[in-house]
């Protein structure tokens, strides 16, 4: 039984490493053609990557700017304009008892005035509890949070308030300084008049572009102000935000959540990204046609070689795989070069844009391009998929080559 070897059909075909090496050597043999094809793919995929990276980068900038330090698992609760329902201990308790509510942040805020040394500035004065500090990323850049401070009357100042008073040069020097706050509270409760109190700076935060300061909510509570300005409700999961919101609204309150804004921004950017990919797609189509052309010409040129390989014992699956490897090598190398090129171009453009921005007085650096791993992997996988699609026809033709006709070809 020499022919019908029991394992004849199961015998391994050519090792994949060898097929890859044969494919690689063939591509190297036609250096100019391979380089041009890879360059075509690199430009096409680079254009798509560059535009998507810009889209994601700008989206990130906008999200950071708009949503900023708000957690998307939080819901802001306010009273409606009629003030028919109030945010007091009873309603806070009812909200806290809603299922999936994890934490409640209480806040008062009033317009007021702050004074350090001889500098004075109008500001919004927030009275917040620990829950509020936990639910809001206050972006502490110096010192400690209110809840971590052992001071009796601690205060957090934001950078904008210090800038307004010209004290933002050395933030360390601001710590432990005394700040005098005055808040007219007569509108809230007639007998309270004007609150004047001295606090000690325990930390500096980077939030908002207007002057904001944060003190403990107990101060206002101690004055008998039981009606809170706003609640921040922390939900255990983003999925539950909408359910909790509707339950809170059923109690007569108005709610808003950073999720709303985020969803809106994402929706707009989805559309923008599709348009950007559309532009990049034109380059991609040219690259795909170039790759198809290269593989087809390669097949025609190598018909005799493929015939020879069949005569020497190659199986049709081996020849199919050989072409698939060539397509994969072209698409992977093209997409890696394209992504690296787009990444470097992004860095250069970002540097230029930051330079122009600093010339116009924007000192905070920004990054216009985002390079998340998912985008890099996604683009490479996409190109591999395209490569496999492009090679279907040439590889099928390679499989069907008749070795006798092929060897007779001149």
């Amino acid at each position: 039984m020499r022919l019908k070897q029991p394992s004849a059909k199961d015998k391994p075909a050519v090792r994949l490493r060898i097929l890859a090496s044969l494919a690689w050597q063939n591509l190297l043999h036609k250096k100019l053609r391979t380089s041009l094809t890879v360059a075509g793919i690199a430009v096409g995929i680079g254009a798509v990557y560059f535009l998507l990276s810009l889209g994601f980068g700008v989206q990130r900038l906008v999200v950071n700017e708009v949503v900023g330090n708000q957690s998307i698992r939080t819901i802001d609760v306010r009273t409606d304009n009629s003030k028919a329902v109030k945010i007091n201990d009873i309603s806070t308790e009812r909200i806290a008892n809603i299922s999936n509510v994890k934490e409640i942040g209480k806040s008062y805020f009033f317009p007021g005035n702050l004074k350090i040394n001889n500098s004075e500035n109008d500001s919004i004065i927030y009275g917040v509890n620990d829950g509020y500090e936990n639910l809001t990323n206050l972006n502490l850049i110096k010192g400690s949070r209110l809840s971590d401070s052992k001071e009796d009357n601690p205060i957090l100042l934001n950078k904008a308030s210090l800038e307004a008073m010209g004290l933002d040069k050395d933030l360390t020097q601001v710590l432990n300084k005394s700040v005098e706050i005055s808040i007219p509270l007569s509108k809230i409760k007639k007998d309270l008049g004007k609150l004047k109190k001295t606090f000690k700076v325990v930390g500096v935060i980077d939030s908002g572009s207007g002057s904001e300061v944060f003190v403990r909510s107990d101060i206002f509570r101690g004055l008998g102000i039981t009606e809170l300005t706003q609640l921040k409700v922390g939900v255990n999961d983003v999925e539950n935000v909408n359910t909790v919101r509707s339950q809170i609204e059923n109690l007569g309150f108005e709610t808003s959540s950073p999720v709303d804004t985020l969803n809106e921004i994402n929706r707009v950017f989805q559309f923008i990204n599709i348009i950007l990919v559309g532009f990049g797609g034109i380059g991609m189509i040219i690259a795909i046609l170039g790759m198809f052309n290269t593989l087809t010409v390669s097949l025609l040129e190598r018909t005799r070689e493929i015939g020879l390989m069949f005569a020497l014992g190659a199986r049709s699956i081996d020849m199919k795989r050989l072409f698939i490897f060539e397509a994969l090598l072209l698409s992977i190398s093209g997409s890696i070069i394209g992504i690296i090129g787009a990444y470097l171009l992004g860095i250069v453009i970002n540097l230029v844009m930051n330079f122009f921005a600093s010339q116009r007085g924007v000192h905070e650096g920004f990054d216009l391009f985002a390079n998340p791993p998912i985008l890099i992997i996604g683009v490479i996988l996409f190109m591999i998929f395209v490569g496999l699609l492009v090679v279907v026809l040439p590889s099928r033709r390679a499989q069907k080559i008749n070795p006798i006709d092929a060897l007779r070809r001149e």
């Binding site: 039984m1 020499r2 022919l3 019908k4 070897q5 004849a8 059909k9 015998k11 391994p12 075909a13 050519v14 090792r15 490493r17 060898i18 090496s21 044969l22 050597q25 063939n26 190297l28 043999h29 036609k30 190598r302 005799r304 070689e305 015939g307 020879l308 390989m309 069949f310 005569a311 020497l312 014992g313 190659a314 199986r315 049709s316 081996d318 070795p403 006798i404 060897l407």
Partner: protein, 261 residues
């Protein structure tokens, strides 16, 4: 089947009413007329015929590349063309070493990789295939050309390298299609000697196609083919047949020369 005295008892290939036809335009052309023949194991079989006589068609059938229109081809008693495509590929990779008249190469590969191809198709690793390739190259005295590209070698050198490719997987059968066709006498003789050596020392079965009377002397077994009709010449009649062929040729040439005057 006519009884023909073979140089050895055991048949490697046997054909049974094997026939090959093809259509050219509206016409059906018979490339191989029905034939039943044997190719003995471990001997040199020469297929002799003029251009277009059907030699290459017969060789393609023996190589497992061309399915006959009718009849069967058996290899060690097994019907070759009842095998699947993959098994035919396995047959070509394991049982046959082929040398062509024209040197066919995969141009992007060096000599060592070109010769390793039959081993690659058997699933061997690069390291092991290269090792065997260097041995094969040593046997044809071409080891120093291992890392050159074959197309850069002379015709004679290329044919020797092609011999190395045919023997690299140590197949029992070497099929040589006009292996001396494009060579000068010196290189041609060298290839013929190599084939003889392989048969004698390696106990290979050699099947050589030629249209050159000069090399018929090496045949243990002769198949003469004319217009697709194959005649098996018995071993003890080979010498007289060759003499008769030479005499016919001489007569034809003399006649032509006299007509020319």
């Amino acid at each position: 089947m006519t009884s023909v005295k073979l140089p050895v008892d055991k048949s490697l290939f046997t054909t049974n009413n094997l026939m090959l036809t093809y259509t050219s335009g509206d016409q059906e052309v018979t490339a191989i007329h029905p034939c039943s023949l044997q190719i003995p194991e471990g001997s040199i079989t020469v297929i002799y015929g003029s251009s277009g006589s059907g030699k290459s068609s017969l060789l393609n059938i023996l190589s497992g590349l061309q399915k006959p229109t009718k009849g069967t081809l058996n290899f060690y008693g097994e019907d070759v063309y009842r095998q699947s495509h993959n098994e035919l590929a396995y047959f070509r990779a394991h049982e046959l070493g082929i040398v062509y008249q024209t040197n066919y190469w995969v141009k992007s590969l060096s000599v060592i990789d070109n010769i390793s191809l039959p081993l690659f198709f058997q699933g061997e690793s690069k390291e092991s295939a290269h090792q065997k390739t260097l041995d094969a190259l040593r046997r044809v005295d071409m080891e120093k050309y291992a890392h050159k590209y074959p197309v850069l070698l002379s015709g004679g050198e290329q044919q020797r390298v092609a011999m190395a490719r045919a023997i690299v997987s140590d197949p029992p059968v070497i099929i040589a299609d006009e292996p001396t066709g494009s060579l000068d006498t010196e290189n041609g003789n060298m290839i013929i000697k190599l084939l003889q050596k392989l048969q004698k020392e390696g106990n290979k079965t050699i099947i050589m196609v030629t249209h050159n009377l000069e090399y018929l002397y090496i045949a243990d077994h002769l198949l003469e083919i004319q217009d697709g009709k194959i005649e098996q010449i018995e071993q003890d009649k080979i010498a007289s047949t060759v003499r008769s062929m030479l005499s016919d040729t001489r007569k034809r040439i003399t006649g032509l020369m006299e007509d020319g005057k």
